[in-house]
């Protein structure tokens, strides 16, 4: 690791905005929250992956991966963040370095030429250049190449110097925010500003979740000025310094960025979530209060309350018909862990029993909330090995697993309904109506006749007692292999 990078990483971990971090003694704090990766047992994404996750939803930017094929080639176009317009972000650009390029030291030249080709062919507002392990190791100075290219072609080329080996996906998310702070934010001035301009950080508009929220903001006259990076345009990132308030959505990784923006431009931030009815209301309330504190008209608060009352009533009415269909079902919740309690309380409102929840990335305060809601610490899991999860599901201690895609097959192989609540999911579940969609998805899943079908004994088993859940003799518990490694955080 170059010294500059080491320095950046060190700083990223020294995060006063992070409650977990503050609670640690000084020595431990320096080590940061990155646990050392265990050879043979780690399968999470790398820092480069994390940087990509954070920045790729900037939809009009060309994202150029400076690497041999694997880094970009194996990862492009695999996430569900949606765009309302430009589609350039879905194009996979890579310098595709060959052995010869590497041996002959032609990496920088090739990168420069690649940037030129992108400018000529696609004319994007900016090009983000991602470093990766190999290019970092051979010492390609992407910052210098970007600088030269920016001057030569007149289109900003932004170095995202976050090679994979720097650390985990989570670290990559942090560093991506840092890169934006250094190179992009504050470089464009908006033509106009309003008293109700906000930034949203940490939302990726997966399958359009941002758009489930946006109408609420539209109605309150709140404008999303800056975004990192849901459905964002490059100019929106560049103008973030002019917003009045920043909302940090379910993300600890980007808290450093939010804090730095507060320090530099005096933009206060709050953490909130759009999952669940009460959380959505809470987020809107906080947002309006803070905007008013910064000079927005005071009636914003009343209008916000009226909107909340109307929307909550609407959502509750829409949920009512599902109640009898999902009531009494037992859910095992296994998510990235942020604000688990918000989903837990939302599900409980519908008479769904939450038999356990992960608190992998939750703060102490979040954990306390879980205890408060669920009444017992025994239902909280830090990590749950796939084998244990499988056993829990098999023993029918839960009828639904709600998790990220990695645990999907644990549930399916245990013939248990599974609902995707992380990044790869195909339906947006944000806001009031998103909650209705989520419950509809739960209903559709648990009440699907397929479960009864796949649990039916085979004709050659029919003579033996039909236990329903019993597996054919040949199948075994899935090995706790890399794909199912629960230590891999599923989002940033």
């Amino acid at each position: 690791m170059s010294d500059a990078l080491k320095q950046t990483v060190q700083e990223a971990f020294n995060e006063p905005g992070c409650a977990t971090n503050r609670a640690k003694p000084a020595e431990a704090r320096k080590k940061g929250c990155a646990r050392p990766l265990t050879p043979g047992a780690a399968a999470g994404g790398c820092a480069f992956d994390g940087a990509m996750i954070t920045l790729q939803p900037i939809v009009d930017v060309a994202h150029l991966v400076h690497a041999p094929l694997a880094c970009g080639g194996n990862s492009w176009d695999n996430r569900g963040s949606a765009s309302s317009g430009p589609m350039l972000y879905k194009t996979g650009f890579t310098t595709d370095l060959t052995e010869l390029d590497i041996v002959m030291g032609k990496g920088e030249k090739k990168l420069y030429a690649a940037i030129r080709e992108i400018v000529q062919n696609h004319a994007p507002p900016a090009i983000f250049v991602y470093a990766t392990c190999v290019t970092a190791m051979i010492g390609d100075d992407i910052a210098a190449v970007c600088k030269a290219a920016t001057e030569a072609f007149g289109t900003p080329a932004i170095p995202v110097d976050v090679p994979g080996y720097a650390g985990s996906k989570n670290l990559g998310c942090k560093l991506a925010g840092e890169m934006m702070y250094r190179h992009v934010i504050g470089t464009v001035e908006p033509e106009r500003t309003t008293e109700c301009d906000i930034n949203i950080i940490g939302d990726y508009n997966l399958n359009g979740e941002l758009w489930q929220i946006k109408p609420l903001l539209d109605r309150l006259g709140i404008r999303i000025l800056g975004s990192l990076s849901a459905d964002a345009r490059y100019r929106q990132v560049a103008m973030m310094h002019r917003a009045r308030v920043t909302m940090l959505v379910c993300s600890h990784a980007l808290i450093g960025l939010a804090r730095k923006m507060e320090e530099t431009w005096g933009i206060p931030f709050f953490e909130g979530s759009f999952y669940g009815i009460s959380d959505t209301s809470q987020a809107l309330r906080t947002m309006c209060r803070m905007l008013v504190e910064r000079g927005a008209p005071a009636d914003l608060i009343d209008r916000c309350e009226a909107l909340i009352a109307e929307e909550e009533a609407g959502a509750r009415a829409a949920l009512a018909p599902y109640r009898p269909r999902v009531e009494g079902r037992r859910v095992l919740l296994y998510t990235g862990g942020h604000k688990s309690w918000s989903v837990v309380s939302a599900l409980q409102e519908l008479g769904i029993e939450v038999v356990g929840t992960s608190v992998r990335k939750a703060t102490e305060a979040d954990k306390a909330r879980v205890v408060q809601i669920m009444g017992d610490e025994t239902h909280m899991y830090e990590n749950m090995a796939p084998k244990d999860m499988y056993a829990t599901l098999k023993a029918a201690k839960a009828d639904i697993l709600m998790s990220g895609a990695r645990s999907q097959f644990v549930a399916l192989k245990a013939r248990t309904p599974w609902i995707d609540v992380n990044q790869e999911k195909h339906e947006p579940y944000a806001g009031y109506m998103g909650m209705v969609d989520l419950v509809r998805a739960i209903d559709r899943s648990v009440n699907n006749p397929v479960w009864e079908e796949v649990r039916r004994p085979a004709p050659w088993e029919a003579a033996r007692p039909a236990t329903g859940l019993r597996l054919a003799a040949t199948s075994q518990d899935p090995a706790p292999g890399p794909v199912n490694d629960p230590k891999d955080f599923e989002d940033c």
Partner: protein, 466 residues
């Protein structure tokens, strides 16, 4: 469970149905050395032939008695005799299957009687089996004509077994009567299942050797394969008769009675439950409590496929138009994964299986009803034969082709949706049709969100990658 409704109206818009004589001709083509013969006017035959040529991409030896105005009025016996004589000379068939048409049925001839008389008189026809089925176009659809033809074949060619003089039944031999919607590839799959249990099937008819699409060594004006003629009387000695499809119930009962053997009707072989039932019957017949490893594995793979596909199929609203047996087979398999048939259109009221289709109602209608029902029910996928493509286009929905005709795609004979393996392929087919449809991608407008401010947009044009 579907209630059958018959819309009262004069007009059929984009018909779903193919005619009964065509079904009969198709069944006859599954007999070795056959030439099907329409008793009717030339045009009916030409249309039916072109229809089948386009579906199977094969030359179809379909002949006609070429009734004209005079012969229609005077009676067609002479035309039939002449047609048989000519076909014999030209194509040297071993089997001629006659199907009546609307024209001759409207006139009302006693064809069976006249045929008996002809065959008795014409000794030179002795090397030939001739079968006649009454299949007026105005009654029933493709599957009804097919069933009528198979019933006629059984009636004419399978002798009544004398219970006293009856030899020991061949215990490992089983008769299988597939309905019209069973494709050549599906017959192969059923054959594979049956043989896996050490049993030997006789299919009647057998399109898997006739219309499977193979390049023959020689030009022949007859069917290219099919059930061997000497195997047909031998069916009386089988251990059991299986009908695949409710429409084959009648033919199967007749065959069962001829041979004094048990009969079992399998309304469908698509879907885990349906195939399990079939396998259970095979196990009982074979006297085993076990199944070969390959079959166990196929079942486990189907279960896995069901789990993978239920994300797309669960809650999927779709509309289907097909002959009753096919509509039942596909819709019951999809219902097993939680799909919802918002419109079911079917072609024939003769088949009681319609009542078991998992939908509120089944309309005896046309593709116009398919389009209207799909629109009204907010369907996201259509299933029908190739002509459903117009409805699919009008609605902007994916179409999964099933039934007859499929004239705008190749390989209709290779479609296999039965057995554990075929069901797996079918579920993937449906799930992929859903996945491949861009319909799904959310737009800000879907949620009522205002568009993004123009100020944020980059002012220079970009090339869109898609």
């Amino acid at each position: 469970m579907a209630r059958l409704t018959r819309p009262r109206r004069a007009l059929s818009t984009n018909p779903l149905k193919s005619s009964a004589p065509l079904g009969a001709a198709m069944a006859y083509l599954g007999i070795e050395g056959a030439v099907p013969l329409f008793h009717g006017a030339q045009g009916c035959t030409a249309f039916a032939m072109v229809h089948m040529v386009r579906h199977f991409k094969e030359a179809i030896p379909l002949q006609t008695t070429a009734m004209n105005e005079v012969s229609t009025i005077l009676g067609g016996a002479e035309q039939i005799e002449e047609a048989i004589a000519n076909i014999r000379k030209r194509a040297h068939p071993r089997f001629i299957g006659i199907a009546s048409t609307a024209l001759t049925e409207t006139r009302g001839e006693d064809v069976p009687g006249e045929l008996r008389e002809i065959l008795a008189r014409r000794r030179d026809f002795g090397d030939l089996k001739v079968v006649y089925a009454s299949t007026p176009d105005f009654e029933g659809a493709l599957e009804d004509g097919w069933a009528a033809a198979v019933t006629a074949i059984v009636d004419a060619l399978v002798p009544e077994a004398d219970p006293a003089a009856r030899p020991e039944p061949t215990q490992r031999q089983v008769n299988v009567l597939p309905s019209a919607n069973v494709t050549p590839a599906e017959i192969e799959e059923i054959d594979h299942l049956i043989r896996a249990f050490g049993l030997t099937p006789i299919f009647l008819p057998d399109l898997s050797t006739a219309l499977d699409g193979h390049l023959a060594e020689d030009w022949s004006g007859r069917s290219l394969g099919g059930t061997r003629l000497d195997a047909i009387p031998a069916m009386a000695r089988s251990a059991a008769t299986f009908a695949i499809g409710e429409s084959m119930q009648g033919a199967a009962r007749l065959l069962g009675a001829r041979g004094g053997m048990p009969v079992q009707v399998f309304p469908a072989l698509t879907g885990l439950r349906a195939v399990d039932g079939f396998v259970q019957a095979l196990m009982a017949l074979a006297g085993t409590a076990d199944a070969p490893e390959a079959i166990r594995r196929d079942r486990a793979r189907l279960q896995d496929a069901m789990l993978d596909a239920h994300f797309q199929i669960g809650g999927l609203r779709y509309a289907i138009a097909a002959d009753p047996d096919l509509a039942y087979a596909l819709s019951s398999a999809l219902a097993g994964l939680g799909a919802e048939a918002v419109a079911v259109i079917t072609s024939s009221g003769a088949n009681p299986i319609v009542e078991l289709i998992p939908a509120e109602e089944a309309v005896l209608g046309d593709l116009g009803d398919l389009e209207a029902g799909a629109r009204k029910g907010c369907a996201r996928l259509l299933i029908s034969h190739a002509h459903g493509r117009h409805a699919a286009q009008a609605l902007g929905l994916p179409l999964v082709r099933a039934g007859f005709p499929i004239n705008d795609r190749l390989g209709a004979q290779d479609i296999c949706r039965v057995g554990y393996r075929g069901t797996r392929a079918f579920l993937f087919e449906i799930a992929n049709a859903v996945l491949s449809h861009p319909h799904d991608a959310a737009r800000p407008e879907d949620f009522g969100a205002a568009p993004i401010e123009p100020e944020f947009e980059h002012d220079r044009p970009q090339t869109a990658p898609h």
